[in-house]
Every structure is written in C-alpha cells, then in structure tokens.
C-alpha cells in the first residue's frame, strides 16, 4: 500500500470502503491513533505509519436506540455500542445480526465491512458495523 495517503478521517473511511480497518501509528512515540489524527496527542509529532487493526473486539457498553434522528428512523430500534479492540483502541458503531436481549457486556464482536453501504457517492462515508463473532 502506498504510504502517501493522508492521515485523515476521510482516508480512514476510504480504507473502510476497501474492507480495511486502519490506524495511524506515530513514528516518534509509537502511539496508535484510531481514527488517525494529524497531530500526535501524546508527543505532537506529525509523521505516522498506517497499521492494520484487527477487527475483533469485546463489547464495552451498549444501548438500543428507539428515538432516532430522521435518517435512522427506518432502522429504529437499533443497537449501538463501544467496542474494545486490541492496543486499547476503541470504536463506536451499530451492532447488527443480534436481538437486543442477547447483547451483553464482554461479548465478542467482529467488524462487518459487508454491511457498509459503499454504493453512495463520496463523500458519503461507508458505515461499518459490528456483529457477533
């Protein structure tokens, strides 16, 4: 992969559209930023390397949203959670393919790129989600 891609939120989502969960690793202090940032919040360095983050993790917390914003109303009620990945990285996202009563803290989840809607024209970002492992 080219190392010239900018360490931006847009690029993060472009990788997602390709089925890759990528983070920016600071070349100076080694801190991994998910999502990538232009400035390391630990050492203020500005040079990074893309690293692949395994898309498996554990559910830290969750909720089932019943009252949704306009664009999500047809999905409601839907589950969202915060997922603990490796290296103390975390990501929020929707959790699919599970009934609400089966959700529990600590359960194993895997990122699902196939759920991403990649058909919409950029800059509509693809939406990843998580499903039970």
């Amino acid at each position: 992969m080219s190392m010239s891609e900018p360490f931006t939120i847009e690029q993060f989502y472009k990788f997602l559209a390709q089925g890759k969960l990528m983070a920016g690793k600071c070349q100076k202090c080694g801190k991994i930023h998910l999502p990538p940032r232009p400035l390391c919040d630990k050492c203020f360095h500005q040079e990074f390397t893309w690293v692949t983050v395994p898309g498996k993790g554990k559910l830290l917390t969750y909720t089932v949203i019943h009252v949704a914003p306009q664009q999500f109303q047809e999905k409601a009620p839907y589950a969202v959670g915060i997922i603990q990945l490796e290296n103390n990285l975390k990501l929020p996202g929707m959790i699919t393919a599970i009934s609400p009563e089966q959700l529990h803290i600590g359960m194993d989840l895997t990122i699902d790129f196939t759920a991403c809607d990649n058909t919409k024209p950029w800059p509509q970002w693809p939406r990843y989600c998580f499903k039970p492992t």
Binding site: V64, M94, R127
Partner: protein
Amino acid sequence: MNGKSLVSIVSAGLSKFGKNEGLYARELFAEAVKEAFDRCPRLEPKRDVKAMFVGHMGESYEHQGHTASTVADWSGLLNIPATRTEAACASSGAALQSGIYAVLSGLADVVLVGGVEKMTHRSTTEVTEYLAMASDYPFEQWHGITFPGLYALMATAHMHKYGTTESQLAAIAVKNHYHGTLNPKAHMQKEITLEKALNSRTIASPLKLYDCSLITDGASCAIITKPELANKFTDQPVHIIGTGQASDTIGLYERQSLTSLQAAKLAAKKAYTMAAVKPEDIEVAEVHDCFTIAEIIAYEDLGFCLTGEGGKLAESGETRLGERLPVNTSGGLKAKGHPVGATGTGQAYEMYLQLTGQTDQRQVKNAKIGLTHNVGGSGATATVHIYRSGQQ
C-alpha cells in the same frame, strides 16, 4: 474560613421556563435581564454594565446566529462588548467563567453573564438532530448515536460495573419532579411516581422518557462584579469563591472511563481547591441532570459519595429538599427544564436565590455554601462553580 471571593453576584434573572410560544430567544433573554435589573435598583444598566457573555448552543432553532449582540441589542445594552460562548449544554457555565475572567482581568468591573435557547417550536426529531451536533459527527452522529444514546451507553456501563438499577435512576426523576412543583418557573409542575417513571417508554435503553430532561424554552442571567464593588449595588451579594472548567475528548468512545466524567472531576478539583471547600461542606447543589444517570455520576464526580455509590445515594433520599444535601432544588434540567444555552447561568440563578434566602417554599434553611455543575455534551466540557452567601 473558605477561599476569598473571586467575584460577587449582585443580581440574577430567569425567564419562565417552558413552552414559550410566540417568543423569540432575544425576547426571553430580555425577560431574564429585566428581572435582574428590577432586583438591583442601585444598578444603572447603561452606565454600569461593561460587557456581556452569553451562552447559546444552536443557531438552527431560529436560523439566528450572532446571538450575543442580538440579545444585547434587545436588552437595551447596545454598544458594550457582547460575546457568545458555545460549549453545548455548558454554554452559559462557560459564559459565567468567561465573565469571571473579564472581571478579574480588570477590563470590565461589572459583567452580565447569561444564556438562552428557544427550542419547543421545533419537532422532537429536529431537536434530537440539533442536540446531537454537540457530539462527534464522524464517529457518533454518523453511526446513529443520539444524545440520549450517549448517556445510555454510560448508564449501561455504570449498571454493569456498580449494580446501579433502573429504579435508582427513576428516583432522581421522582425527586426532581417533586422539587419542580415548588418552583413556579419550572417547566413541569407535577409530581410523578416511581412506577410512572419506570413504565414510561424507552428512548435509548436503559433510559426511558422520564430519565430524560425536557425540551424547553428559557433564558437566564446573572450580574457579577468585583467583590469590593458588591455593596455599591446590593446588601445581599453572593460570592463566587471557586471556578473550574475542563475539557475532554469529543468522542465518548475515546474516554478513559465510561462511568465518570473526567472533565467534571477536573473542574471540581480546581473549584474545590480555589474555594478551600470540601465536598462535605456543600449545603445545596445544582447539578447537570440532563439524564438521570448524569446526576448519579455527578454525585460521584463531585465527591458527594464514593465512586459507584451514586445510585445508592439517589434512592436514599438524602438529596431531597429537607435532607442532608438537597440537589436540584429548582427541579433541575429534569423538571425545571433544559433550554441548553440557559442552563449554566440558570443554575447560578438558583444558587443566588438559595444563598440569599429568596426561594420561598424550596428554601434550604441557612445554606451558606453551594455548588453548580454544568456539563457540555457527553462530557467534553464541564464547569463547576462554588458560591458563598454574603451574609456571614
């Protein structure tokens, strides 16, 4: 003796909170300002007020930005510097701290701080979207996470870690609705039962309708000055003896803890240290109960109980009027209402009334030391202020 006075509140005002149909934000703000001027006849507004800081979260509601100059204009305070502060639901907590900076800098000796929001003419769907703007767009809003959703994520984590129950959450709602019945300016004026709260419809599990604060119209303000000038304007000042503000990651998912707000703990630590006051010295508090779980977490972050015991404190009844530490005597965001930009200085208004003995039936007897806690968004901003009655 506690810390010295940083600034003194010499007056304060609050519009009626509720559904104020047919009124613009600027007109609500003028209502609050008029009360503050009427309470302080020795103040000559055009001569004395040197600057304004106004909290306001959203221009989407009225298609009106440039809020500070707009409300200065409509308040008869033309030509003075008027600056808007925006920190989501902590916008006017930030206005209060900005006003303190201004007074302490020496550049303005009398400052009007306030806040306003006009919300109820918009649909719940629209308000849900506008409020969500205070959260992280690309990683929270984009994935359908609402504001109640963010606090629901904290509630789930708190219940799992500490055994906090839905009944303990509901106890906050029952208490604050009771307090609201004692406040003629509160949006909600009726008591609710625990059963009613527990049986209300789910908004974002485990949070139900009665776990959520209200969509409300309202405005609030306070007039602050140098302590040495306070007695020029009033015989009953309230001194601010501690101020703290802190920030945290915009995304809830990046926080170290999902069961406490680090910004609130940092702001509280600063304010307590400055005021030379301990949590057990606080006699009355207004805390940011945007959701019931938020008041439980506030108890812990402010040191009113041990970490993890906020739920137990909620159901113990000790934070009810007449008990050990009355919290949200105004009814809080839950029953007084939450016009987001007005909330921070609305809390300061309640503290001003409490510490000058002017709250009538919800008065905390002989209260001398009080605290306000105002949180922006899911906790990326928090402000804490500590107050001391001027009557020693």
